[in-house]
Symmetry: C2
Subunit: 416 residues, 2 copies
């Protein structure tokens, strides 16, 4: 039996054990986990220090190292996240529809766990805890495969969670860490159709692409955001400037940051220099632009085809000037990663058309793309942002971790 088969079997067994756990039992256990994480702060910091030392040795950048770092404050934050999940409404058992059919059968469709969820993710150790808490709240077992960079932190976090669960009388295999971070083992996980119901990759475009190509387990693609902002001919240009700057600059490393600017030719001459000047006051942006935009921007360089398709995650932005709303929509639909797209306009018809025809999970009118987020959207939690159309689209809360089952009760009915 392979390592993944062993974990898979254990997860499947744990998922079955989990089935009978009630909402209040789950919430009590999440509270136990919250407390344990805080009380084990010293241990978590010690283990995290090993990863930080390794990162230093490997010459990892300060920004990346910071993503890895745990502090007492951050551990408290991670624990508080678990407590908040306990507070969320439990979707399991919720009735989606229910009725008596013509045969007199009482039919009720209820929300059910998926079973076993696996997650392959990079760097940030808080993801382990977040993913566990959302899976647990929905009675799913989870197998976590984090990056090598955070292996000691992840081991410690998962151990602490498992101890809390065991103290609470629950099979600790509801959360398991893949401690062997080799690619071979990750690929075994992608093939584990007999044990894993859903695989969620979280990380860069390359990780997502690899998982999508290789996985036989159903995958939800998450997170790649080549987000566009289209500044329409009827835009309020002050508002457009603020929105573009916010979407590009406020936190460039995240998936809902904007990467591409599309500008209507009628306002390009006025808007582009205005935007460039405003950017230079806070944070210069490297514009990679088409010919027309290059002629209007002081520092722009010509864009390549690849630039338009790239998620820069940096202070870089591609620029395209279009001659109509239709051209803008077609442009966005060509390069979109189907995450978040925005139009800035005062024209009602343009706004409606853009929202109806742009093919993305979230389409904004007059707001920054940076809002695409499960918490901001009011879902109470987020395990990722789906950029595909099946099962879940956009920010995924607890409901995205559920399936359904039909309960049918009869009095001896047979089919004629």
């Amino acid at each position: 039996m392979t390592y993944i088969e062993t974990l898979g079997k254990q997860a499947k067994k744990a998922a079955r054990d989990l089935l009978s756990l009630s909402t209040s039992e789950k919430n009590a256990l999440l509270t136990l986990v919250t407390k344990r994480l805080v009380s084990e702060t010293a241990l978590l910091l010690t283990e995290n220090a090993k990863d930080l030392a390794q990162a230093k040795e490997n010459g990892i950048s300060e920004i990346m190292t910071d993503r890895l770092r745990l502090t007492p404050e951050r551990i408290k934050g991670i624990a508080e996240g678990v407590r908040q999940v306990a507070d969320l409404e439990d979707p399991i058992g919720q009735v989606v529809r229910g009725y008596t059919n013509l045969d007199g059968l009482k039919i009720v469709q209820k929300r059910m766990p998926l079973g076993v969820i696996a997650m392959i993710f990079e760097s940030r150790p808080n993801v382990s805890v977040d993913a566990f808490s959302l899976a647990f709240k929905t009675n799913n077992a989870i197998i976590l495969r984090g990056g090598r960079d955070a292996i000691n932190s992840n081991k410690a976090l998962v151990m602490v969670i498992r101890q809390a669960l065991e103290d609470g009388g629950v099979n600790p295999d509801v959360v398991q860490l893949v401690e062997n971070t080799s690619h071979v083992v990750a690929e075994d996980l992608m093939q584990a159709v007999d044990y894993v119901d859903l695989l969620i990759p979280r990380g860069g475009a390359k990780l997502i692409q690899t998982v999508k190509e290789k996985s036989k387990v159903p995958v939800i693609e998450t997170g790649v955001g080549n987000c566009h902002i289209y500044v329409d001919e009827f835009a309020d240009l002050e508002m457009a400037t603020k929105i573009v700057l916010n979407a590009k600059i406020q936190r460039p490393s995240v998936c809902n940051a904007a990467e591409s600017l599309v500008v209507h030719e009628k306002i390009a001459e006025q808007f582009l220099p205005m935007l460039e000047d405003a950017a230079n006051e806070v944070q210069a942006i490297e514009f990679r632009a088409d010919e027309k935009a290059c002629s209007l921007l002081k520092t722009a360089v010509p864009a390549t085809e690849e630039d338009y398709a790239t998620e820069f995650l940096d202070y870089i932005m591609s620029v395209k000037v279009v001659s109509s709303l239709e051209e803008a929509i077609a442009w966005v639909n060509t390069y979109t990663s189907s995450h978040s797209e925005a139009i800035v306009t005062r024209d009602l018809v343009a706004a409606e058309k853009f929202q109806d025809q742009v093919d993305a999970a979230a389409v904004y009118v007059n707001a920054s793309t940076r809002f695409t987020d499960g918490f901001v959207f009011g879902l109470g939690a987020e395990i990722g942002i789906s950029t595909q159309k099946m099962h879940a689209r956009g920010p995924m809360g607890l409901e995205a971790l559920t399936s359904t089952k039909f309960y049918i009760n009869g009095q001896g009915q047979i089919r004629e």
Copy 2:
């Protein structure tokens, strides 16, 4: 460009053209298709006759040939099915949730088309028309890949639909038939991630398995039903007899027919001979049974491990005697194809436990598994029965052919 790439591009373009079609326009076009199918009866019969002649030449069984056969009556039925889809409520544009968030953003999640659906199916030509009408009602384009046996019938049906759409001013590429029925082309379709959003295989276990293994396009597994009926120690044995006979005999070739019988040891001695006698009065069943059941049935043969995992689609049934409800549940969960499972009992606790813990799309108490069906369940339509947990589970109606999109409207909001 490969053949499938050409079809895929055309489908994608057609799907985009379809986006702007309103409910009443779609319904009017479905009515046009209904009329056209009936008025082209002669043509359809002529083309169908070619397939029937070929089937005769190939020595296809009368049962299989009958599945292939069109008659004026059947064509009327197929056309009537299209008209009924026109009558169904349109899920596209329906608001799933909507609210104003803390930032003052107006967030509305609406049902949207998936885009391009592909279906690989066997034999029955009516599937072409059913699948088209459900896809069209949900603003999706569809690519149909039927079996070689029905190629002339499918060509004629799709041509007639396309003519009606063209007359109605719609891009006929919303429905396309893969006229090359080679396996190579089918596999191209399974790889067409750039053009196809969802692939639905409909047919035997082998087809489903092949598609599941080879497809890179997201797949919904449908239809394989190794359905069990568990006759509990507290069952009404008269009712159990009727339910088992109905589920096994009434139409053995369908996925919701029962294949496996599980009997509590406390009633096995009384129940099994009673069932056998009742069966022999209407239709003898070949029982493949464990030792205990073999000793109680006159004509049973010993079951192999494989028998318990087989969807016979015939007057054959595996039999297992268990000593407890828990053993019954574990048995069902080991061999279930997650389609439909039933318990016959008067014990409320047993009924609840069986429904909660059996892992299948539909779990019955005191009724025949034969009821699992989109129409019977009141969904108004059915494009297949999902036996997986992602996206859709159980009978799939129009909603299963939709995704969602978040519409967010602001007044210049940026993220702090």
